[in-house]
Amino acid sequence: MPVAFPFSAIVGQDEMMLALLIGAVDARIGGVLVFGDRGTGKSTAVRALAALLPKQRAVVDCRYGCDPEADLDVLCAECQARRANGGLRSKQVPVPVVDLPLGATEDRVIGALDLELALTRGEKAFEPGLLARAHRGFLYIDEVNLLEDHLVDALLDVAASGENLVEREGLSVRHPARFVLIGSGNPEEGELRPQLLDRFGLSVEVRTPQDLRTRVQVVRLRDEFERDPPAFAEKWRRKDAKVRKRITDAQAALPEVEVPTDTLEQAARLCMALGTDGLRGELTLIRASRALAALEGDRQVGVPHLRKLAAPALRHRLRRDPLDETGSTARVERAVQELFPE
């Protein structure tokens, strides 16, 4: 396993980093889409996050890494049986960050019959796929806009329901699959289907930094890393540890963070002003703002949080208004300025 570029050494992509951190604090925000220029460190950031995430407890010997504390209906069938038979033993495991490589076939994504057992022993057994491996973690799809449509459909279905149902060769398996979907891509290679766009909680636009100082910094850090990856990672270890602590603290604080009625109303007004379709935008905005408050050590969600997250939570949900030639980001920002003047 090659050494990952440290998360805290990534420069000049604040919105993307924040969105990833929010996804790490609250998995329910429904995924992060990172769209933008080439060479902006999209994949680097996700791999860096994977190396930094705090560990979590998982049931020993569970193929899906079930949460020992979870409600019964979120456990897989085997863990349900185990709990009935007297309790679940658990251990610390890393949070899975699973790559969905391009060219993956459906059987490996969804899960299928175990080929090896079928060939060697003539047995039929279920072999979990990537969705099972990503349970309670992250599923990362680079170049998500190049993914085959039938795979996308299968993914969306599972992401929405939180469980994966496989019917194959007379085998019927149902297992939990809750994951944060992270998709990245370059719009020049192809647009994303609107149905898929809406499923992502946060949508981040990344651009190549255009000022010399940031660019020099990026290039220098990259050069230093390439010369001696382990030494570089070591140098940034403490900063990364701080970020990790921020995540764990925020996870712990999250249930305590309050959302005052006032803030709810303001979020609703913002969404109405922008005319976003459905409730998903509003819900995401509130959830993400809670996670942000937790990350920043605030006990209450307020307008500053909404202001910061309005663009990533809403920009991909706007109807295309043919009379308005400004981009969706600018439209969100304008509405924010009008409703919550600083």
Binding site: R47, R108, L113, L119, E169, P187, L323, E325
Partner: protein, 601 residues
Amino acid sequence: MTMAQRDDQAAAPDPWELAALAAALFAVDPVGTGGVALRALPGPVREQWLADTRELLPPGTPRRKIPLHVADGRLLGGLDLAATLRAGRPVAEHGILAEADGGVVELAMAERVKGSPIAYLCAALDTGEIILERDGITLRSPARLGVIALDEGHDEDERVADALVDRLAFLLDLSPIGIREMGDLPYGPEEIAAARERLPSVTIGTEQVDALCGTALALGIHSIRASIQAVRVARIATALAGNYRVGDAEVTLAARLVLAPRATTIPYLPAEEEAPPPEPEPPDQEGESENQPEPEKRDDPLADQVLEAAKAAIPRDLLDRLRLGQLRRSRVRSTGKSGQVQQANMRGRPAGVRRGELRPGDRLSVIETLRAAAPWQRVRREERGRTATPTPGAGTAPRIEVRKDDFRIQRFKHRSETTAIFVVDASGSSALHRLAEAKGAVELLLADCYVRRDRVALVAFRGRGAELLLPPTRSLVRTKRSLAGLPGGGGTPLAAGIEAGLALADGVKRRGGTPMLVLLTDGRANVARDGSGGRTKAGEEALTTARLVQAAGVAALLVDISPHPQPQARELAQAMGGVYLPLPHADASRLSAAVKATAGI
């Protein structure tokens, strides 16, 4: 001979010398540099370059060729069906990329490779490994490699995919090099090996990184990967020269090799190149080129020196390329891919298979279905043995048991048809002549479209409004008939014309086609949408409507056919996010050629 001697003058370097140097630098660190996009037709020069590179790489370095229509399974790896069935257990087969770990892959006819093979290559270049999740196999194999993309493209439109080029440090063009201009290699394998040893210890100074980044910005190079690669190349060059600290000569060389071929603007460009300059600058003025807001560091001699060297190495035909590139880019931005590619059940080129139920209209891929069924035969036979009741039919169990799960359905891709919508200014002054040329262009295009199954439509505006003269069609006869009766004269209701064209484009899009607006006008509107006169209001309305074109993401081409091109028309084209083409004496054939270039048809 040291690097410094070779590079202290800012004169244009000898192309073969640079190419040979690039070969040596690439050989020192194929993985770090990502590789070479090698533009050249097959021939002795390219062969020599490839042979030289091969010679410089350490013996035993893996080298694989990727053929043009490589299958995903061959590139990435997968289940080796024959071995699996023989062994009675799953046997994975490495793909080309994994086999080339530690070495080099050559991508044949790289300019024609698009889509998934490019994405796989990019993934391997980014992560240095191939993750395989296919055919019931999970396999992670290292694939640290360098790519030589053999680009045999003739013109600017045939180029290696941008995503790949962005990851390759060297862009070489061997086509101007003649056989007699080839020289010897500046370095031998021993020097390469020594440089490999030295490379990890080579360091680069702060101001040198500054100079490279600044030069990249000044040349309008957007992606930051180019700067990162330039730093790498400077370090490699230093290692090759036998030093441990990057010198200014190596920085200059890196700028020449990595940055110059990617330039999108030429700093301090004399204004003579642009036909109608908005405000002519004296050529020697020390200002920046207009789309370069980044202030130059005047007090930084190194940065200047590097920039000068890079400028000297900028290919001479860059300006032409920039213009064409602009045509190309504007097309890509507005339509996503080159022509919207659609998946359909039955038409187009085969594009892989998918698992699924066989619905009416689907086509079963027999081979893939049998492949999918093959590994499961044993388990199914045993299952049948257990459950089968002793009936007379039991003895005639099928040789191969294919089940519903095995069905693989052939998928096809076809490019959605392009509809070129001509919006023609049929007003006043020069209407008659202009209309005649537009008609000619439509007919010429249509003759092409008939072969390519694309469509054309025609809207004319004059007097108080716009009129749809020809709904999207492929019919040559119908076109001729409706064009014959096209009247001219009156005011210029430009906004109404664009609006009508846009409405048509919307309809085309809804039916799954790719519309493209071709606006023939001088941009001087004088009739507003409500039919009232007045230049100011009409002009503003035209601009607003033009912005709608951009918002709708419709590709647009504005052909300015006034005898003296006017700024209004250029503004209008900008508002549409489209391409501006002044053709004062547009004739039908030039017009249809321009449309074809913009639409990629």
